[in-house]
Amino acid sequence: MKPNDTDRLDAAGAARLLEAGAVASARADGAVDRRVLARTQCGIAAAMLIYISAFLLLFGNQTQEAVSGAASGGYAYANVLLIPFLVLTQLVMGVRDRVRVLRAHRPSLVFTLIGLIPFLALAVLSVFGVSYPWGFNLVAAAAPAVPMVWLGLKSARRADPPATTVAHTEPGRPARIMTASLGLYLGLTGMLAAFNGFALTGLGLITVLIVLLALFSSRWGLPSLGAAWSTREWTAYALSFTLLVTLAVVLARTPWNTPLVGVVGGMPVAAPLVVAAVRGARS
């Protein structure tokens, strides 16, 4: 642009630019697929509800002795809960990436952050050994999830279908390999949680997770995998997620904390994703 171009802009030219900008803005707004964004938001809300409920069930309102002595893992069981949740947040990034036009929904973010305050407050009370009514756990679990679901559904109800939708294809070979590997990783996490020394092996599993998170922008990254998944793989992940969290609760809060239970419990955790990957290869 030449330096004197600003001097040549008259009222008509300025009006034309403003008009072009308004048209571009309206088109971008029309291309936002709010239904997909709402679905991902509801999925995250459900996962958050399960994660916080399980976390508080394991560690909330418990004495230090009860937690550190919970089976053999104690606080290391937090890893078993954290791993599938962090993996999910990365996978969901891939779904959001597929919709082509992303729009941040600030009220959701604000409500979620405010909704996390009760959970953090209960976590602090638990760390300091202060007891509280059991029902507070339910409130803390629902506080971030309910507004997310409500705002997501509200946004989806108002939304028109997007002008352009992206066709979905079957996951390719790299995605299927990653899907099966992810299933085995989650299954192994569940199995190892039942063995002595999980505090140490849990660190190894977290290291694997960090490597996975570091690969987020590559074709082997979790967002790329999430973008490739169809309903079959998402259903499988929801099953694996729920089974792994359930296994963590069983191992930490019941006397069935034996390697046998871990191995037997870990296999169903891995199975849904491995089966989904194999079925994807056959179809």
Binding site: M1, P3, D5, T6, D7, L9, D10, A11, A14, A15, R16, L17, L18, A20, G21, A22, V23, A24, S25, R27, A28, A31, V32, G94, D97, R98, R100, V101, L102, R103, A104, R106, T164, T169, P171, G172, P174, A175, F216, S217, S218, R219, G221, P223, S224, A227, A228
Partner: protein, 114 residues
């Protein structure tokens, strides 16, 4: 006493072409749009869009994120904080010029509504 200035002083050279201005308008304050969709929305071609993005990146007005979707590379763009601020000032100046108005130097702050 506030000095009165012609609104053209609020215009930003980087945002003066229709394509670059429309690109920033499409991104808005909180959208992230992939390259192919932007090309479609703005009814332009790869070359012109790449040049516009290069200029806006050089000015620090857009940020670029690269990734993969279903094993295919994809590039997303979003407006940076300085890009949003520049856009607000630029839009105010355009509105003033289009309305035949003059604005005061004091009102040309990034806090203006665009």
């Amino acid at each position: 006493m506030t000095e009165r200035r012609h609104p053209r002083h609020g215009l930003d050279d980087a945002l003066l072409t229709p394509l670059r201005f429309s690109l920033m308008a499409a991104l808005g304050p909180e959208a992230e749009i992939d390259f192919a969709t932007l090309r479609q929305l703005l009814e332009t071609d790869d070359s012109a869009l790449s040049k516009a993005i290069a200029t806006l990146r050089a000015a620090g007005y857009v940020g670029v994120r690269k990734g993969y979707v279903a094993n295919r590379p994809r590039t997303w763009l979003r407006a940076t904080l300085s890009g949003r601020a520049a856009m607000r000032v630029h839009v105010s100046a355009l509105q003033a010029i289009a309305g035949g108005l003059t604005t005061s130097a004091a009102s040309e702050s990034p806090r203006q509504d665009g």
